[in-house]
C-alpha cells in the first residue's frame, strides 16, 4: 500500500507546478533583497516560503473533497477572522485596519487567507454535477457567499483586497454553465456603464477627489501632478524604464528604491524593482513563468477527477490572473495604484502562505485524479 502510494505520489505529484512557484518565490526574494537590502524582509520571505511549503504539503496530502465538505465551517471561521480585524485585536498599518494580531500565531492579514474558505464555499455550492444552465437562485446565493467577506473587507477599508474576490466568483459562474449571452451582455454593460458611472460619480461627488486624481494620474501620468497623486505612478514608470533591456548594472547604491523614490518597493512595487534590476529580459522571463504556472494549473483543472476539483483550481487561477494583472499593471502605469500584492513575489507571509495553500489544493486534486 505504502509502495503504491509512493509511486503514485512521485508520478502524480505536480512537481512542475511546485517548482515553478518556488522558483518565482526565490527570484522574488532576490528582488526583495535588492529593494530593501538593509532590512530583514528577504530573510522573512524565505522563512515564509518554508512555512508555506509545509502548509502546501499538508493540504496536498489531504483529500480536497473532505475539505470542501467542511467548507461552511471554514467559511464561518474566515468571517470571524475578518470580523476580528475590526475589533481592538485589529492592527492599523498605513491607515488600513487590515491586520489582526492573535496570541501565539502573531500578526497576519485575514483578507488574504479568507479567499480560500470563500473559494471552498463557492465550490461547495457550485461543485455538484450540473444538469442545466445556471439559475438565478444559484447566482444569488453565490453573490451572497462573496458579499459577506467582501463587505467585511470594505469596512477595513481595503478596496484592493476586496476587488481580488470578484474574479473568483466570476470564474466559478463562468464555469457553471452561465449562458454566454449573459457574459457578453455583462461585458457590454460594463464597457458602457463604467465610464458613465465614473462621470456621474465625479459629478455627484460620490467619487472623492483623491480617487479621481489617482484615476487621472493613470489616464495621463506624464501630465499628472508629479509631486502629488501622479508621484507613485511616475516614479514606478521611471524605475521600470530605467531597467532597459538588461537591468541597471553597477549602481545598486543609487537604485530608485534605495533613494526612496519608489514607495513600498518590497511589496506593492516589487515588480518595478525587478524591472530596474533585471531589465526586460528578467521581467519577460517572470511573465513567462507566470504564464507556465497558470497553464499548468489550467491543465490540472482539465485533468481533475470531478467538478469541484476543477472549480477549486480555476477559482485560484482567476484570483491569480487578476492579482498579477492589477499589480503589474499598476507598476507599469496602466492601472491605478491599488494595494494588491504580486502573488509569489511581494514580501508578506500572508500572501505567500495563502498562495501556496491554493497551490496545495491543485496538487491535492492532481494526486487524486485516478482515485475512484
Amino acid at each position: 500500500m505504502a509502495a503504491v502510494l509512493d509511486r503514485r505520489i512521485t508520478r502524480d505529484f505536480d512537481w512542475i507546478l511546485v517548482l515553478l512557484a518556488v522558483g518565482i518565490v526565490i527570484f522574488g526574494t532576490m528582488q526583495i533583497r535588492n529593494a530593501q537590502p538593509t532590512e530583514i524582509y528577504w530573510q522573512k520571505q524565505l522563512i515564509g516560503l518554508g512555512i508555506a511549503l509545509v502548509a502546501m504539503a499538508i493540504i496536498s496530502f489531504t483529500d480536497y473533497r473532505r475539505l470542501i465538505q467542511f467548507a461552511p465551517a471554514f467559511y464561518v471561521f474566515g468571517l470571524i477572522l475578518l470580523f476580528l480585524v475590526l475589533t481592538p485585536l485589529g492592527v492599523k498599518v498605513n491607515g488600513q485596519q487590515a491586520w489582526v494580531k492573535l496570541p501565539v500565531i502573531g500578526q497576519f492579514q485575514p483578507s488574504e487567507f479568507v479567499k480560500i474558505p470563500t473559494v471552498l464555499m463557492l465550490v461547495w455550492h457550485f461543485g455538484r454535477v450540473r444538469t442545466g444552465t445556471l439559475t438565478l437562485k444559484e447566482t444569488l446565493i453565490g453573490g451572497c457567499i462573496l458579499a459577506l467577506p467582501v463587505g467585511l473587507i470594505m469596512l477595513e477599508p481595503d478596496a484592493g483586497q476586496a476587488l481580488t474576490y470578484f474574479p473568483i466568483l466570476a470564474v466559478v459562474l463562468f464555469l457553471s454553465s452561465i449562458k454566454i449571452r449573459y457574459v457578453l451582455a455583462l461585458l457590454l454593460i460594463g464597457i458602457i456603464t463604467v465610464p458613465l458611472a465614473y462621470t456621474l460619480g465625479v459629478k455627484t461627488g460620490k467619487i472623492k477627489p483623491y480617487q479621481q486624481k489617482r484615476i487621472e494620474a493613470i489616464l495621463d501620468p506624464e501630465n499628472a501632478d508629479p509631486r502629488g497623486y501622479g508621484y507613485h505612478t511616475i516614479q514606478s514608470i521611471v524605475t521600470v524604464g530605467k531597467g532597459g533591456l538588461t537591468g541597471a548594472k553597477g549602481e545598486d547604491e543609487y537604485s530608485q528604491s534605495r533613494l526612496k523614490f519608489l514607495p513600498e518597493p518590497h511589496t506593492d512595487f516589487i515588480f518595478a524593482v525587478t524591472a530596474e534590476n533585471t531589465g526586460f529580459i528578467g521581467c519577460a522571463l517572470l511573465l513567462l513563468a507566470y504564464g507556465l504556472l497558470l497553464s499548468r494549473l489550467v491543465t490540472d483543472a482539465r485533468r481533475s477527477p470531478d467538478r469541484s476539483g476543477m472549480l477549486v483550481i480555476m477559482a485560484v487561477v482567476g484570483g491569480l490572473i487578476f492579482s498579477i494583472f492589477v499589480n503589474i499593471g499598476m507598476a507599469l502605469g496602466i492601472l491605478p495604484v491599488i494595494g494588491v500584492p504580486l502573488p509569489l513575489m511581494s514580501a508578506g507571509l500572508s500572501s505567500i502562505l495563502s498562495t501556496f495553500i491554493a497551490i496545495g489544493f491543485a496538487v491535492s486534486v492532481q494526486l487524486r485524479r485516478f482515485v475512484n
Partner: protein, 646 residues
C-alpha cells in the same frame, strides 16, 4: 476531463480562461517592452536627473588692492549661508515654514515671503538663499531640525569684506545678489538667482574680471533631497585681483579732510595729471558697503538701508562723478586758456576792464572788487569777475562751444566707474534743450557762463580733468582707477572638458593717447603764474598753504552760488566752496579738486581741506614723519586687517 458534464462546453470555457491569462500577460509584456526598450533611455535619464544634484561652490571674488599692491582694501572671508532646496518643499505649508524659519533663524517674515514668491516665479532653479552669514546658532538650528526641515542646507560662502568706517566706499562700491532684471542681461548670462555680482563702484565696473567662476559638487540625493554621496568636485576659479591706482595714505587724508570740514559734505579727488591715475577719491558722507554684502537680509540691515536711502545728505552717491555743481570761479581757468587760444586776449596784451561789474540791458552784474584793467594773471589771482564778463562777451556762444568741445565738458570723463553723470554746459543748442522757455542765447548768458554759473554745471571730476590738462600744458588724460589685473591659473587639465576653466591672463590699464589741447608755452606760463599767485602771491587762497620747497602749489578758488540772490533758505542754500590745485606748480605731480558743500567761500574752506592732503603728500615725498596722532592711521590698519583674503 475526468467527469462528464454535458450541460456546458466546459473545455472551451477553460480554454477561454487560459487565453485570457495569455492575453493579460501579453499586454503586460507589450507595455513592458514600450517602457524598457522604447523609452528606456529617456526614463533612465530621468531617473538620473532626479537623483543627481549640482551644488555650487561659490568662487571667491578677486581682491581690490592699493597701488603698491600691498594693502588689500577688499577681500573675502568664509561665511556660511543657509540654502533652501526647493525639491523638498512639496506638500509643505509655506506659512508654517515661514514662521518656523523666522523664529529659528531670526529672519524677517516679509523677507521670507518674498523668497518663497521668488521660488514660484523661477521654477528652473533648485535652491534659494534663506540666510546669509549664518551664525553658529543658526547652523546648529538647521542641524537639529534636519528631520522636519530636510530642505535646509548649510553652505560655505566667501563673503565680501570692506574696510571699516566706509573707507573708499564710493570707489569700491559693493556686491549684492543679482536682480531679476539683471538675470536677463546678456552680461550675466551664466548666472542664476542668488549669485553675487558687483552692483556699484569698481565692483560693478570690473565685475566680469573680479567675479570668479563657481565650482560645484556633484552629489547623489535621495527622494527627500538628502545627500547620499559625493561623486565629484569641480573647484571654483577665483576672480582676478585688481590693483588700483588708489594711494591709501592720500585717500585717508582726503577722507579725514572731509570729515573735519565745515559741513562734512563734499568731495576731494587727487589725480596724477601726467597719466590720469586717480590717487584718491573721497566723497562725504560715506556709507558702509558691508551693509550690502553682509547685513542686507537681516531686519536691522533692511532698516539701515532704508535710512541710507532717505538720508538727505545722500551718502550713497559718489559726489565726484554723480554730483553736478556750478564751478564758480574755478571755471575761469579753462576760460582763460580759451580766451588766449581763441585770440580774444593775447599773452602780450591780456588786459580787460573790470569796471566793478557790467551792465547788460538794464541789469548790472557786479564784480566783488574794483580791479581797474587787470592783465590775465592778476585777474586769476584776484578772481576778477568783471574781467571774465567781458571775456565771455567776446567769446560769445561760439567761443563757449569751442571751450566745451576742447575740454570735453559735453561728455563724461570716461572714468572706470559706473553711474557717472554728464555735465551741463554752455552752448546754443544745449540751452534750447535745457531752458526751453528761454531758448535763445543772449548777452547776459555770456556774462553768467563766464564765472561758472547758470549754464555750467560740472562734476568735480570733469573739472579736475580740465585743470590737470592745463597744468601739464595741454595733455588731457582719461582718469582711471584700474592699474592692473592679476592673472588667475586654469582649473582642470583636460582642456576639452566641460569643467575646464581657462587661465585668465593678467593685464595692465590700456591708456589711450591723451587728447591734446594746443596752446603755447607762453600762454601756459601766464595761466600758471596767475594760479601760483592765488596761493603764493596774495591771491584768494593766500593763507592756506605754506611755501613748501620745490613743491609750490598753484590753484584757483571758487564759490558757487547755490540759491538765487536774496533768497534765504538756511544752511543748504549757502555757497559751495571750491578749490582746484596742482603741485609743484611748474612740474605738476598731483592735481586736485576739492568741494565743500554749503560752506561758503572757497579760499577759506576748500583750500585748507586740500592743504591737508598736499601736506601729507609733501611730507611723505620729503621723508618727513607724519603726524601719528591722526585717527586715519587706525582706519588704515583696520582696512588691512579686515581686507585680508583667506
Amino acid at each position: 476531463m475526468k467527469f462528464i458534464d454535458t450541460s456546458q462546453n466546459l473545455r472551451a470555457r477553460l480554454g477561454t480562461i487560459q487565453i485570457i491569462a495569455f492575453l493579460v500577460l501579453g499586454l503586460l509584456g507589450a507595455r513592458l517592452y514600450y517602457l524598457q526598450i522604447v523609452r528606456g533611455d529617456e526614463l533612465k535619464k530621468r531617473a538620473e536627473e532626479q537623483r543627481i544634484r549640482l551644488l555650487p561652490i561659490p568662487a571667491p571674488r578677486g581682491a581690490i588692492i592699493d597701488r603698491t599692491g600691498k594693502i588689500v582694501f577688499v577681500g573675502s572671508r568664509q561665511t556660511y549661508n543657509i540654502i533652501l532646496s526647493r525639491e523638498d518643499l512639496k506638500g509643505k505649508n509655506l506659512e508654517t515654514l515661514i514662521s518656523d524659519y523666522a523664529n529659528g533663524l531670526n529672519l524677517d517674515e516679509q523677507f521670507l515671503r518674498e523668497r518663497f514668491e521668488q521660488i514660484k516665479t523661477q521654477p528652473a532653479f533648485e535652491s534659494v538663499l534663506v540666510k546669509e552669514n549664518a551664525s553658529q546658532s543658526d547652523i546648529i538650528w538647521v542641524d537639529a531640525h534636519s528631520y522636519e526641515h530636510p530642505e535646509l542646507r548649510v553652505e560655505l560662502q566667501p563673503q565680501r569684506t570692506y574696510p571699516a568706517n566706509g573707507f573708499l566706499s564710493h570707489v569700491l562700491g559693493y556686491v549684492g545678489e543679482i536682480s531679476k532684471e539683471q538675470l536677463e542681461d546678456p552680461r550675466y548670462k551664466n548666472l542664476k538667482p542668488g549669485d553675487i555680482i558687483g552692483l556699484k563702484g569698481l565692483e560693478a565696473y570690473y565685475d566680469e574680471y573680479l567675479r570668479g567662476i563657481d565650482g560645484y559638487r556633484k552629489v547623489i540625493v535621495d527622494s527627500r533631497g538628502r545627500i547620499q554621496q559625493e561623486i565629484e568636485v569641480i573647484p571654483p576659479q577665483a576672480g582676478q585681483d585688481l590693483i588700483t591706482t588708489i594711494d591709501s595714505d592720500m585717500q585717508l587724508k582726503a577722507e579725514e579732510a572731509l570729515d573735519n570740514s565745515a559741513t562734512k559734505r563734499g568731495v576731494i579727488v587727487l589725480m596724477d595729471p601726467n597719466n590720469g591715475e586717480i590717487l584718491s577719491m573721497a566723497s562725504s558722507p560715506k556709507f558702509d558697503p558691508n551693509l550690502f554684502s553682509q547685513r542686507i537680509s537681516t531686519k536691522e540691515g533692511r532698516k539701515e538701508y532704508a535710512a541710507l536711502i532717505l538720508d538727505k545728505d545722500r551718502p550713497l552717491y559718489n559726489r565726484a562723478i554723480q554730483g553736478r555743481y556750478y564751478p564758480g570761479s574755478t571755471w575761469k581757468i579753462p576760460m582763460s586758456i580759451e580766451g588766449l587760444m581763441q585770440g580774444h586776449i593775447t599773452v602780450e596784451k591780456s588786459n580787460l576792464v573790470c569796471g566793478g561789474g557790467i551792465t547788460v540791458g538794464n541789469k548790472f552784474t557786479r564784480c566783488m572788487g574794483s580791479h581797474g584793467s587787470p592783465p590775465l594773471g592778476y585777474a586769476i589771482t584776484k578772481s576778477c569777475d568783471g574781467y571774465y564778463y567781458r571775456l565771455g562777451i567776446k567769446m560769445d556762444a561760439e567761443g563757449y562751444e569751442k571751450l566745451v568741445e576742447d575740454f570735453e565738458f559735453n561728455k563724461k570723463t570716461g572714468i572706470d566707474l559706473s553711474g557717472e553723470l554728464n555735465n551741463h554746459y554752455p552752448s546754443r543748442e544745449y540751452k534750447k534743450k535745457r531752458f526751453p522757455k528761454e531758448p535763445d542765447w543772449r548777452q547776459i548768458d555770456n556774462v553768467y557762463a563766464s564765472i561758472g554759473q547758470v549754464h555750467d554745471e560740472v562734476t568735480p571730476l570733469a573739472l579736475l580733468r580740465s585743470i590737470a590738462a592745463i597744468a601739464i600744458g595741454g595733455k588731457m588724460y582719461v582718469p582711471h582707477l584700474m592699474k592692473e589685473f592679476k592673472p588667475v591659473h586654469a582649473i582642470g587639465e583636460d582642456t576639452e572638458s566641460e569643467d575646464y576653466r581657462k587661465p585668465r591672463d593678467g593685464f595692465v590699464f590700456q591708456r589711450q593717447e591723451p587728447k591734446v589741447i594746443s596752446f603755447t608755452p607762453a600762454m601756459h606760463k601766464l595761466i600758471i603764474d596767475g594760479m601760483w599767485g592765488v596761493v603764493n602771491g596774495g591771491g584768494t587762497a593766500g593763507s592756506a598753504f605754506p611755501k613748501w620747497e620745490n613743491f609750490e602749489v598753484a590753484g584757483k578758488t571758487g564759490t558757487a552760488q547755490v540759491a538765487a540772490l536774496g533768497r534765504d533758505c538756511g544752511e543748504r542754500c549757502r555757497d559751495h566752496a571750491w578749490f582746484v590745485a596742482f603741485a609743484p606748480a611748474r612740474t605738476p605731480e598731483i592735481a586736485s579738486v576739492a568741494l565743500i558743500e554749503n560752506s561758503g567761500f572757497g579760499g577759506r574752506n576748500a583750500a585748507p581741506a586740500t592743504r591737508i592732503v598736499y601736506e601729507a603728500y609733501y611730507n611723505r615725498k620729503m621723508g618727513i614723519q607724519p603726524d601719528t596722532t591722526s585717527n586715519g592711521q587706525f582706519a588704515a590698519s583696520n582696512a588691512k586687517k579686515q581686507g585680508n583674503r583667506q
